[in-house]
Symmetry: D2
Subunit: 343 residues, 4 copies
């Protein structure tokens, strides 16, 4: 049993962490912070958690975070980089669900996030928390950068192909689609149901922060330069990401299905479906799973991978719990034995 | 550990039962039947259950149901009344999630369901499985009639008022709204997303089968004749029921909040919210909870109750599991410790 | 051909007015104002209007509104009451789509809208713009208060019953449901798709501004005191209102269908469906129609009326255009010959 | 004023044709056929058309189609090929909204549609009704094959690039997304709101009939072989198609925006948005427009085109009306002056 703190408990990654942690057998939630809502009962703020948690939000100062074994940052970008150092020095392990430690290339980070990084040394020390790539490093990490939602779906879909060196790494295409919860819980006009309901659109076609994250981390993982055209779209639904990935095969006659199954045979949260299976986002709703389907349609030399995750679970809070489980040496699936809610 | 069988595993109540039972600590799923899909892997049919269950659908004949401790019928109306007797004689307990045993008044049943009842004696023996009303009888029942989804939401919302005798029982109004999964998984034109998406409507205004079910069971519960105008509506969403209930108060100065809180203080799956709280269907999504809010707006002598449930859980499979827990003497919440999926 | 101005062109009522007016044969749009977006092309702001309109937003000061024949206020509550007087003095007719002139009872208005009214004399002069009630007064009005969306749906559904004196006017119930566009286009957390998608809830159960509007205007129309329990709900869709109305009949044996058909025989925008017909919001999407269905289910003495409108058309901009047509003596349907978009 | 007949008036393309034709100044609707619903009032079947049309469905035999000037087939694939010849011989012009005459290569057609073609000679004579490519041939055509919905969106997005010869025609990718109305109005399990609501998925990844249609017609249009990876997806909404198109540029320094604007300068129903504009499906809802946006993100040598249409209008019934207008020498926009319904 460890004590964990959550910095930033009013957004969707925060509430999803709470949904998972209230039932986690090894965890006591010691504090949940919110500057704006300090004093409010967590379950009053998130009525879906009524009966699950008795805490009220506290300010970060009053939260006693330094006494925790682990602190999750479920905050906007730019928060953890200012607050993580003190916790790490106090011996607390940290998982940041925002983007502060995801990119090693600070120049790229600063360009995309529009801030000067406050803790460059921590960037160096942080481990990118994608267990399917960095499990060993996560196990001993003090600071984990939890991956973005799109990068999780895209990276898991492309990894087997790139590791095997069977596709042109310089001409990858990721056509990705997300439910609106990926954009967070801030007041917004663009994300009103009246604006994005019963409609579909691409956005950030000219450039999105998750593109450099995917490229850098794939390059680290497989050792080759990555060229990726990345186009995100907004789906009129709440949860779920689907990534359709296109790559040019450099070999023919490959058994792509076998390649994927072999790569993920021992992964508890990656499920490779039979060739040609449809892959619905609802089939992972509420779970920490990434489900994949791979195909070379009509033998045309282009491989198509479909990858689905729940953006708030494997794309955020669930992956953070998975990372915690690895960091503390527990069964990786502790607290993550969840069946998908379908329909 | 008991052995359970599920008759009819391809519909939504069947798949929801599976979602709950695969993680139930006291249950081994011995067989799941489907005449049309016998031989197909259950998880191939319901991809959301991949990795959760290894069985294939069997025919009822091959299922060995007589060797089970409990059999759930997740079948269309008119099936269980033909098959339950043999199982009961073999010592198997039965929970019917369809309507075959919900009404004691056979004439009414036959008018609404358009069939002659095949097992009138079992109707007499069956217990209406609403634990908040019939917990003791359920504990010793051999045959439980699991309530309909609307009746669950409406009955729980009206019970405290009727039991206390503070409203006019002859002039109740239930304006109820359901997501489309309540209508099942059969091919249909009316339930296509293209037909009922981005639209809202009432249906069956002239009469709906759940109206006599509510009236009969409320009459049994509180001992007075019930007059109920019941109008169901279809909401463009998948899961969830909201019932807005209107009744004329026959007393003034009542503490309605206290009345409701007292009635449900010891109920594990009924949650009375603070006066005037908004009650969203998503706050119970995936859970066995009924959340209620009660108010007398502007002191006008009309009490308004809002009641929300997940139609597939407290309105079907979850309540069936709750009934099973009671029948076998387990903690009533076994296998039902579920947090709502919100957002 | 008249010149019209629109004050406040960035919200949904403003854009819907534009959608209707760009094709209106008798109207030239002279100016569309927006303080915040002055200088921006109207069609750049509303891409759905590309190719339909060449104007840019102007400030109210630069708009030359005093030279218009008619000015529509599609502004927040509290704007028109400050600006209408000057226009009226300049001989401009005014239609306010907000609530400033909807209630004669200033005390009630001030309580619900939380402001001191700036133009009490104009309130007296204003005509409530529900053509089905006030057509003659509208024809000669200088200032029209365009009704709220809920009041339009509810009033049209109740009028025939109240005018005929066949129901208990003191015990009316309106269970109303609206798509989210009714709440406008302001940044908001509660109206995010991630908050209100795939969910359903009642809101403002304790009291909603449209309740006194309905009561006052019905009282004026039929001359009796109105007692109305009014509960609004939010539907996870963009457009559409459905009102389910419940009233206690004081006579038996009435031909309700004939009553409704007679009342609305000559109304171009009210359509009474055959008894018992389902009434979907999509059947009026994009149109100025109110479709109604009336029934006394099972002869129980309670009449149930379903009323559907498009909240942005008959509930706002379309009704405003209808009022304009009446004010200028044109065919009432000019510019409103629209087929519903279904599916 | 011409007389038109519609064969097959109960599906979505039929009802959408009716929505457009009831207001078309040059058209009298002489007959609407339906074998299954002969005798039913068209507006009783499609309540959204109440007040717009007085006809009842007739059988094809009783419809007097040979006396029409033009007959639309809004029927399943395989109907028009059996019935068009007799009408053409009688001097009636024909527009088939199904796929019977879309492919010149009969072998390919028969493989994808699983039937032997009944009228190969008519295939030869038919004109593919994409006005932006074949306007002159359409003007004199007796038989027009109205394009599929996906082919319309994809072809209009790729044409400028292929005509200019600036991309690799052998490595095109079309990641396309459609609302569910594209799949028609037949009873279905897969298209229930409960199945495809609040979820997103790819389908027919291994092959879809619209892929050969796009390839053949693009090859005819631009004279080069086309290699296209085509992956359709289902969006939880009713109307709208978005196509994200990816092609490898073979030149650098191109002004893609100018290329697209020049290509479509005189097209009444193609709108090229400013570089980098988001393109929402709702911005064309209910209209005959195709809106396009083109960009080379980050100068990476891959051009990305977004193309949106309303699948039932420019993707079906609207394009059919546009073709009719061309065939009869009317202004091409007659009956198609429609503003998008947004929100």
């Amino acid at each position: 049993m460890i004590k964990v703190g959550i910095v930033g408990g009013t957004g969707y990654t925060g509430s999803e962490l709470l949904r998972l942690l209230v039932r986690h057998a090894q965890v006591e939630i010691a504090a949940v912070t919110s500057r704006s809502d300090a004093g409010t009962g967590v379950a009053d703020f998130h009525p879906a958690l009524r009966g699950e948690i008795d805490l009220a939000f506290t300010t970060p100062e009053a939260a006693g975070l330094a006494d925790c074994d682990l602190v999750f940052f479920a905050t906007p970008n730019g928060t953890a980089m200012n607050e993580a150092a003190a916790l790490l020095e106090a011996g607390v392990r940290v998982i940041d669900l925002a983007a502060d430690f995801r990119l090693k290339d600070l120049e790229v980070w600063q360009r995309w996030y529009g801030m000067t990084h406050a803790a460059p040394d921590l960037v160096e020390a942080a481990v990118y928390g994608l267990p399917e790539v960095n499990r060993e490093a996560i196990a001993t990490a003090r600071l984990v950068a939890n991956p973005g939602c799109y990068p999780t779906a895209v990276t898991l879909g492309l990894l087997p192909l790139l590791e095997a060196g069977v596709v042109d790494a310089g001409r990858l295409i990721a056509d990705v689609k997300s439910g609106v919860s990926g954009a967070g819980r801030k007041p917004s006009t663009a994300l009103l149901l009246a604006e994005c309901g019963e409609s579909f659109k691409a956005y950030s076609v000219g450039g999105h922060r998750h593109q450099p994250e995917i490229c850098e981390n794939l390059r680290h993982a497989v050792g080759v330069e990555i060229g990726l055209t990345f186009v995100p779209h907004l789906v009129p639904m709440v949860r779920g990401i689907e990534a359709s990935l296109y790559a040019t095969l450099q070999q023919s006659g490959l058994d792509l299905q076998a390649l994927f199954e072999a790569r993920y045979r021992n992964e508890p949260f990656v499920d490779v479906l039979p060739t040609g299976s449809p892959v619905e986002t609802r089939s992972v709703r509420g779970t920490n799973l990434c489900r994949l389907s791979v195909l070379e349609p009509q033998g045309a030399g282009v491989v198509v991978v479909q990858s689905v995750i729940d953006n708030l679970v494997k794309g955020a809070a669930g992956q953070a719990v998975q990372n915690m489980n690895i960091m503390f040496g527990w069964n990786e699936a502790t607290g993550l034995a969840l069946s998908a809610l379908a329909p």
